[in-house]
Amino acid sequence: MSDLRTRLKQSIIEQLNLEEFEVEDIANDEALFGDGLGLDSIDALELIVLLEKEYGIKLTEPQQGKEIFISIDKMAEYIEAHRTK
């Protein structure tokens, strides 16, 4: 589970070009949007693409993203439960 969180952080840093962040800068329970990492709506789309590409999870409802992309912890829990690869 913690490996998944680390890999997820690496993917997010790489995919979203968060060049000023290291894996250890992102807390598992830190908010990804708003005051936390400060991600925006385009980043949310990138996260949807990332879930599909790396874990075979296809989100069809935009509302789902709001519930999943709260924090690394929430994303990891969702991936564990729904991954197809």
């Binding site: 979203l16 990138e46 590409k53």
Partner: protein
Amino acid sequence: MSNPYKISNFVRIRDQRIFHGEKKLFSCEEATHLKRFLKESYKFLNISYPKFHKMDALCKLGILAAEVLFKNMEIPTDTALVFSNSASSLETDKKHKILMEATVSPAVFVYTLPNIVLGEISIKHKLQSENAFFISDKFNAGLLADYSEILLDTSKADAVVCGWIEWKNAEYDVFLCLISKEGEVSFSEENLEELYRFENE
């Protein structure tokens, strides 16, 4: 009849160098890839704007140039932006085309228009102004001078940033001028042309 406007300030970015007016501000001495030059320039200018890293090179060049141009200045929110180039957003368009064959990246797609650079500069510097992006074969001082002068004459803007911002085949060429009523150099097609040629000759 000459106009009352002046070229208050200008910035030049090309060949791994940044000029503020005629003064060299920064350069990478060794041959450097554009990506590294942009990152080194960002650090040198002491910019703290994480969104910078998500932008394509055209927008990064615009953000760097605006940072130099606006340094230590209070910029009116109605400062208009009148930019031009010949390649539009071709480099990002090509990247997007390649990605379309596999998985499209929304973060790449949003930069497949040249005028996005105008929006990025406006967001960073809180400008709420007129803007235009022209595509022309080469630097066209007459077009930029005419369009900028109309904006100033009709009070659509208190100041204008106009010029050329090109990124094509790993080459880049930026020349932006701040036009207002302050300064020594008269704002004219001839002077714009001369300043653009200054580093190009």
